[in-house]
């Protein structure tokens, strides 16, 4: 056995791990090899030194440290266990999902609000099928009525406006199929005269305070009693899953406050009114239902009248200011409805009435409509005065049977 082989076994030899045969061979070599003997001595000394190395004492408070660590870990484990219980349960995860959905829906509404600049109202899915969805309306005799264009979304509204007249009549005919009491031709000839395309200035909040079949429908039904008005809303909710239903905004106000009283005979010609639509009303719902209901009127302010009003409000005279500058000024002021309000207050007060509230466009000082209470005996004077401010749309208000009545009226401002 040479030195290389012997040195491979020296570690085991020193520990006494070699078998007798190998031990004898190693010892035989060591007896004749000084270097290998030196190697053995060196290794023995190393092992002896390793065995006599200093011991390092643990900290004196090793046990206390251990106790503290165990307490911390048990506390942490309790927290983990507490947290892990709801994680294991499925209900909180579902709840978390619901919260996320709620946040998303809220965010979408916020985006829409920003886009249209109007106050967001709940979205309700309204079915297109009047017979199934509006059973009480279908049973109700109808009269013609005037109702403003109510769509909030320009896209939908434009589609409706671009619809050919023939198609509109056909659409009315479709609707009438579900409304057996209506004489479609009669309504079309008497109620609808013209309906040219037009655009209103700025976004307008939906005026209808009840469910209507669709924004794309040219004719919107309006009910004459709170009971009837309420039924479609509930039905519409239930029918939310109907195929072909469309989404539409509605304003959720008390249904019993919604009344428009117009007789069929009194239907207004729309030849000079591009923003009006004819709708059906209960023929018998005339004066009697007016007592407890809200009378709705629309005041269309023509541009020339706006100029006059603005001029008056700005205390300017046409001779002093060039007409072009006046018009620019007018545009800057986003129409003169803002200036119209004081004039309307004067008219109301002159009729012995009072302004109950003013509805402004969301986030602006531009009034959209005024709620007022006018003594019934002064209603004729009031209507005449209103026409000095603009073109009055809405059914002429017939004198009430009782002069002591106070009539709630809503005047909506429109611009051509």
């Amino acid at each position: 056995m040479d030195c290389r082989h012997v040195r491979e076994h020296l570690s085991d030899y020193i520990d006494g791990g070699l078998d007798a045969k190998n031990k004898a061979l190693v010892e035989e070599h060591l007896s004749v090899c000084k270097d290998c003997r030196q190697e053995v001595a060196s290794l023995r000394m190393l092992i002896r030194d390793l065995g006599s190395m200093e011991t390092v004492a643990p900290p004196k408070d090793f046990l206390e440290q251990f106790h503290r660590r165990m307490e911390r870990r048990s506390g942490f484990s309790k927290i983990l266990n507490t947290l892990s219980i709801p994680i294991r349960a499925k209900l909180p995860m579902k709840l978390a999902g619901a919260v996320v959905m709620a946040v998303l829906v809220f965010a979408i509404f916020q985006i829409q609000e920003d886009q249209y600049g109007t106050k967001i109202t709940p979205m309700v899915r309204v079915p297109n099928q009047p017979e199934s969805s509006f059973p009480e309306i279908a049973k109700t005799p109808l009269v013609t009525d005037v109702q403003e264009e109510t769509s909030n979304t320009g896209v939908v509204r434009k589609k409706a406006e671009q619809q050919p007249q023939a198609m509109r009549v056909a659409a009315r005919g479709d609707e009438a199929k579900h409304l057996p009491d209506i004489d479609v031709k009669k309504v079309a000839s008497e109620g609808i005269k013209t309906d040219p395309p037009s655009r209103e200035g700025g976004p307008i909040e939906r005026s209808s305070m009840k469910m209507v079949p669709s924004a794309q429908e040219p004719i919107l039904s309006k009910t004459s009693s709170p009971k009837i008005a309420k039924a479609p809303l509930e039905t519409g909710m239930k029918e939310a899953e109907d195929v072909g239903a469309v989404w539409e905004r509605i304003k959720t106000e008390p249904q019993n406050s919604v009344q428009t009283i117009v007789q069929k005979d009194e239907a207004i010609s729309l030849s000079d009114n591009p923003v009006k639509r004819i709708t059906h009303m209960n023929e018998t719902a005339g004066h009697s239902s007016r007592k407890g209901g809200l009378i709705e009127l629309s005041l269309v302010i023509e541009r020339e009248r706006q100029l006059d009003i603005t001029r008056a409000a700005l205390d300017m005279e046409a001779s002093q200011v060039q007409e072009t500058k006046m018009r620019e000024r007018l545009m800057e002021r986003e129409l003169s409805i803002e200036d119209l309000l004081p004039r309307l207050r004067e008219v109301i007060e002159r009729a012995g009435g009072e302004v109950v509230s003013v509805e402004y466009k969301e986030g602006t000082k531009i009034p959209q409509s005024v709620y007022a209470e006018i003594p019934a005996e002064q209603i004729g004077v009031f209507q005449n005065d209103l026409q000095t401010l603009g073109i009055l749309h809405g059914a002429p208000i017939a004198p009430s049977g009782e002069d002591n009545d106070i009539l709630p009226i809503r005047i909506r401002f429109l611009t051509p």
Partner: protein, 209 residues
């Protein structure tokens, strides 16, 4: 049966009694197990990590792991073997940490034997030497420590268990979970490596013998 073996057997029997008491619900006896094994366990951790604080963390972590697992201990090996096997694994994992290695470069060269109170924790086994020999031995020990710290982890573990802590080959096989032949070869390579690294120190030691 020599004296060392008798002591080891007596110690193992004590461990069995304490562990059974623990498993029957007397959690307080674990303190006795800690006090009984803390010195040797701490030393092993210190030799393997080369850092006092790291050794403390590893030893504490070992006892915590043992506390959580002791109820399931089935006495298939000696408690001490099981305890050191856990400690070796924990130290091995710590050594693998890059952060630990970087920290070690800056810390281990300082005096590693300082307790939290600032006292020296180093204890000299043999105090019969003269002051000169004492200084010489201290220098040699420091050189050995440095040489050990440079060994590969597997060799360091085996040489620590065998030559510093005095475990038998059989115990080392159980603690490290490696074959006897592997243990022997690793130990032989570790000793040769240390001897080469400490050649000058060992020559002085030999000449002084």
């Amino acid at each position: 049966m020599n004296e060392k073996t008798k002591i080891a057997d007596r110690s193992a029997r004590e461990d069995v009694i304490l562990i059974k008491a623990f498993q029957e619900g007397d959690k307080a006896v674990f303190d006795e197990l800690v006090l009984k094994h803390q010195h040797k366990l701490f030393n092993l951790c210190y030799r393997l990590s080369g850092d006092y604080q790291e050794a403390n963390d590893a030893a504490q972590e070992t006892f915590m792991k043992v506390y959580e697992s002791l109820k399931r201990f089935r006495f298939e090996s000696a408690f001490s073997t099981w305890l050191y096997r856990i400690a070796v694994n924990i130290c091995k994992n710590k050594l693998k940490s890059l952060a630990y290695r970087q920290k070690k470069k800056t810390v281990s060269l300082d005096n590693p034997g300082m307790t939290e109170d600032g006292d020296s924790a180093l204890e000299i086994r043999d105090d019969t030497h003269s002051p000169d020999n004492e200084l010489e031995k201290k220098e040699r020990m420091r050189a050995i420590e440095e040489a050990i710290s440079m060994l590969p982890p597997e060799q360091k573990t085996v040489v620590t268990l065998r030559d510093i802590e005095g475990f038998s080959y059989e115990e080392i096989v159980q603690i490290t979970g490696t074959a006897l032949g592997t243990v022997k070869s690793r130990l032989a390579r570790a000793r040769l490596d240390l001897r080469k690294r400490l050649r000058s120190v060992m020559q002085d030691g030999l000449s002084s013998c």
